[in-house]
């Protein structure tokens, strides 16, 4: 029995990204606004976030204030790791539902449910597979991540390591190093080149962050290394299209943040208006996106998730269309 969410119930909600000024978070906001109109919620939907250099403290602050304001729900793309937990639990105690999206609370405490863009386990497999056919089944690869503290990047890297270890078909792919570009163009760019210098026979740089992947691609292109060292990972079609077309980054993956925002809003609305309990097994209809079910999160002990999926892998054939 799928729950159909009854529109028009009033509840104020906050969409809280890691920080403001990043394209994907704005896309998520668009999705949420779309859902907000669809569900004709008389309440307010606030899109507010901290500054980049003050992300952790800022998210904690906004989460705390949300509780004080008696917000119906906070939709959080968590950048504070478990440091957000006390604030989130306090907010929930004050009756504010906490729904995470994009990046969950690692320990799973203080959150009602996590709207997962894709299955974190499968991200590992997808990245491993991309590495597989870019390297032609054999070669050295290095990871260029965001910051060492980005919990979802860390989770994805772990799951990729697991995938590589699990299946013997990956046995000839060697993960030589993991470095961090702090999600800043210049750092990522220099790290990428340093990797090439450090490992003369490096075949692939895998970067599970939109900043890192394009910086690496740019670096390889600028130094004319594209035919030696390929780049892959998670990136935005609009940023990656040229590199995919010229072969620097033959393949990369991402999901649709607009949909993610849309689905997250539906979930949060359902919980905030009491139409969803947030129990495992509950199934509900999320407007144009169809039915979704709350399930146990395989990645996080005792946590719950809603799996959006699917995952789009971009290459020469589909990237240009997506970049539009």
């Amino acid at each position: 029995d799928t729950i159909k969410l009854e529109p028009g119930k009033e509840t104020n909600m906050v969409l809280l990204p890691k920080f403001l000024g990043i394209l994907v978070f704005d896309q998520a906001n668009e999705g949420a606004q779309e859902a907000h109109k669809e569900l004709a919620n008389p309440g307010k939907l606030e899109f507010t976030g901290p500054t980049p250099e003050n992300s952790t403290a800022g998210q904690i602050e906004i989460m705390t204030t949300a509780g004080t304001q008696k917000q119906g729900a906070v939709m959080l793309s968590n950048n504070a790791g478990d440091q957000i937990v006390p604030a989130a639990e306090a907010a929930q105690a004050a009756g504010t539902k906490v729904v995470t999206w994009d990046s969950p609370i690692p320990g799973g405490k203080g959150e009602s449910v996590f709207v997962a863009q894709v299955d974190f386990g499968s991200i590992g497999t997808v990245m491993a597979d991309m590495a597989m056919d870019i390297l032609g089944g054999k070669g050295k690869m290095a990871v260029l991540s965001a910051t060492p503290d980005a919990s979802n990047q860390n989770a994805w890297i772990e799951s990729m390591k697991a995938a590589l270890a699990a299946d013997p078909k990956y046995k000839d792919i060697e993960l030589v190093d993991v470095v961090y570009g702090d999600d800043q163009a210049e750092v990522s760019y220099n790290r990428a080149l340093a990797l090439v210098d450090k490992y003369p026979d490096l075949g692939l740089i895998m970067s599970p962050t939109t900043v890192g992947i394009q910086a690496s691609a740019k670096a390889m292109q600028d130094e004319g290394l594209c035919d030696k060292v390929k780049v892959s990972g998670l990136g935005l079609p609009s940023e990656m299209v040229s590199y995919t077309m010229n072969g620097c980054a033959p393949e990369f993956a991402l999901w649709d943040f607009r949909d993610l925002g849309y689905l997250t809003y539906y979930t949060a609305y359902g919980l905030a208006t009491g139409q969803l309990k947030g129990d495992i097994g509950e199934t509900f209809t999320a407007g144009r996106m169809g039915d979704y079910t709350i399930e146990a999160d395989p990645g996080r002990e005792g946590a719950k998730r809603i799996l959006m999926g699917p995952f789009t892998v971009y290459n020469k054939d589909n990237v240009e269309a997506a970049a539009k």
Partner: protein, 316 residues
Amino acid sequence: MSRLFSWEGFLFACLAVIFTFNAVAAPDFLSISNQINLFQLSIEKIILALVMTFVIINAEIDLSVGSMMGLSACTFGYLVQMGTPAPLVILICLAIGVAGGFFNGWFTARLGLPSLVVTLATLIGFRGLARVMLEDRGIGGFPDWFAALGQRGLIGPVPFALIAFVALFVALYILLERSGFGRKTYVIGSNRDVADFAGIDTARHKIIIFTMSGLAAAFAGLLYAARVGAVRGDVASGFELDVITIVLLGGVSIFGGKGTLVGTLLSILIVLNLRNGMALLNITGHIQTGVIGLLLIASVVIPRIKLPSLKPEAAA
């Protein structure tokens, strides 16, 4: 008084305006819980601001406080996870704070390197040590009593950290405004040579102040760990600038020798109320920092506005 406002006067006026505005505009503002949250959310920064006041009056600066907070918090997480008893770990962390502060002080006072440079290096270095310990891990699950200390009220709804802040303010106020130590802090900040000739061991004094700063930062790091219940490598990064902003807004002269803890307290209250008010009105982070920035400049310019009549020269 030919000035339009004194600095403190100006700050106090600001505070009054902000407070009333908040009270009117945001219904939840005056609630006990919000008033406590308002302090709790930046309790570490405001504790650091108290000690930073000493450092800057002494004509030095300590950019490494944020990183030292991180180092102490991460050490705590690391050792607790290794199973070391928490009380012991707390002592170790405080010891690290003392050591780090002494390090800054020694290079500044004895070797004669500018503190801006020394603490810029340790800003990177201390952070690095924290990083070495925790690498890419986040650590949580601290003892309940520890978490409770950071997250629940100790006396009624008032948490330990807030009490510590008040106590610390009183103690430091007496130390700076009433004691010989405070007097020396001003004199050294105003003209170190004169202090040297008056038989004051200025190097020792500076080292003590840097050590205080390191200790306070380590303590703040522990408070932070307790408050958020988890730590990782980037804890408190960038805090130093907020702390310095508060102190300067409080009217402490960056050139040393001038400033009061009351000024710092006023500016603490202003910044906290301003931020909280804007947060309650859902004003985004970068606008908040922008406003604080403007206020920072205004707080220097506006007191300078002279009444048209009798103009005083700046004293030689």
